[in-house]
């Protein structure tokens, strides 16, 4: 449920209506793996579909947001057992140098998001050929 309220803003400010969301946000569990040419982030985001993914890279911070629509009408569901809550996922990572941010890729499968952050050329391991003299 959302309510739009018109608020008078001082001149020069742009009014923006945020979506009202009265549900929880959870921090997903992640694995961070390094391969020779990339870092890979795996995040558990069950219930997130491809159109609910929002990944941003801003000022060295990579933010992963997964939107989860409620699966039940919480007000009218007769729970017998309730061991977890359903809500959005949010987690941010500070990315140091050495990542080619233009080439970050994301895939989603079975509720696991995979972010691939390729290392920039300068940071990749190189095999140095030894010349026979």
């Amino acid at each position: 449920m959302s309510t739009n309220v018109t608020v008078k803003k001082p001149e020069g400010e742009v009014a923006r209506v945020e979506r009202t969301r009265d549900r929880q946000t959870y921090m997903p569990n992640v694995d961070i793996i390094e391969t020779p040419d990339a870092f890979v982030v795996l995040a558990d985001v069950p219930g997130v579909s491809a159109d609910g993914v929002d990944i941003r890279f801003e000022q060295g911070v990579l933010t992963l947001h997964g939107r989860v629509e409620p699966r039940q009408d919480e007000q009218h569901t007769c729970y017998l057992l309730r061991e977890y809550g359903v809500g959005d996922y949010l987690r941010s990572f500070q990315i140091g140098e050495g990542i080619d941010s233009e080439k970050i890729e994301a895939t989603l499968k079975d509720g696991v998001m995979e972010l691939r952050l390729p290392k920039s050329e300068a940071f990749r391991p190189r095999k140095i050929a030894v010349k026979a003299s």
Binding site: T77, Y84, F93
Partner: protein, 145 residues
């Protein structure tokens, strides 16, 4: 190598603490779920007059690695979450548990095992368990005496 290179990820601790606070005691951590006392997978179960519904979050489990059984008033969910394969990888952070899991729950009523359905979508398992005929509520006609 500059020191910053080996671990370019520094999670934003403040945010994590805040989110963890919401998390604590509410959602069992999957990472702790394997090999510790925490039960995995966590379950939500609800009902209406015709059926029971069990839902579990099991991200990263392929349908072929999952088994669901229902007998009488017992529901069993069993599966394996496989680690990522690949050589030449180094873990900087490992919070996602892997391995086998089994969860058995006793339901409040018998279910019609032949009509149980299970669906897995985006890492969420939903099992629909129609109640056995004798467990369904019946409306009793009241006769005027």
């Amino acid at each position: 190598m500059p020191g910053g290179f080996m671990n370019p990820f520094a999670a934003m601790n403040q945010l994590q603490r805040e989110v963890n606070r919401l998390f604590d005691g509410y959602l069992p951590s999957l990472g702790a779920g394997f090999g510790s006392a925490t039960v995995f997978p966590a379950l939500n179960i609800w009902e209406d007059s015709d059926a029971l519904y069990a839902e579990a979050e099991i991200p990263g489990v392929a349908p072929e690695d999952l088994e669901v059984y229902a007998v009488g008033d017992e529901l069993t969910i069993r599966g394996t979450r496989k680690p990522r394969e690949g050589e030449n990888v180094a873990y900087h952070r490992r919070e996602r548990g892997t391995g086998e899991f089994t969860r058995v729950v006793t339901l409040p009523v018998n279910v019609d095992a032949d009509k149980v359905k299970a669906a897995l979508k985006d890492g969420v398992l939903t099992v629909t368990l129609p109640k056995a005929e004798e467990a369904k509520p019946r409306r009793i006609t009241v006769k005027a005496g």
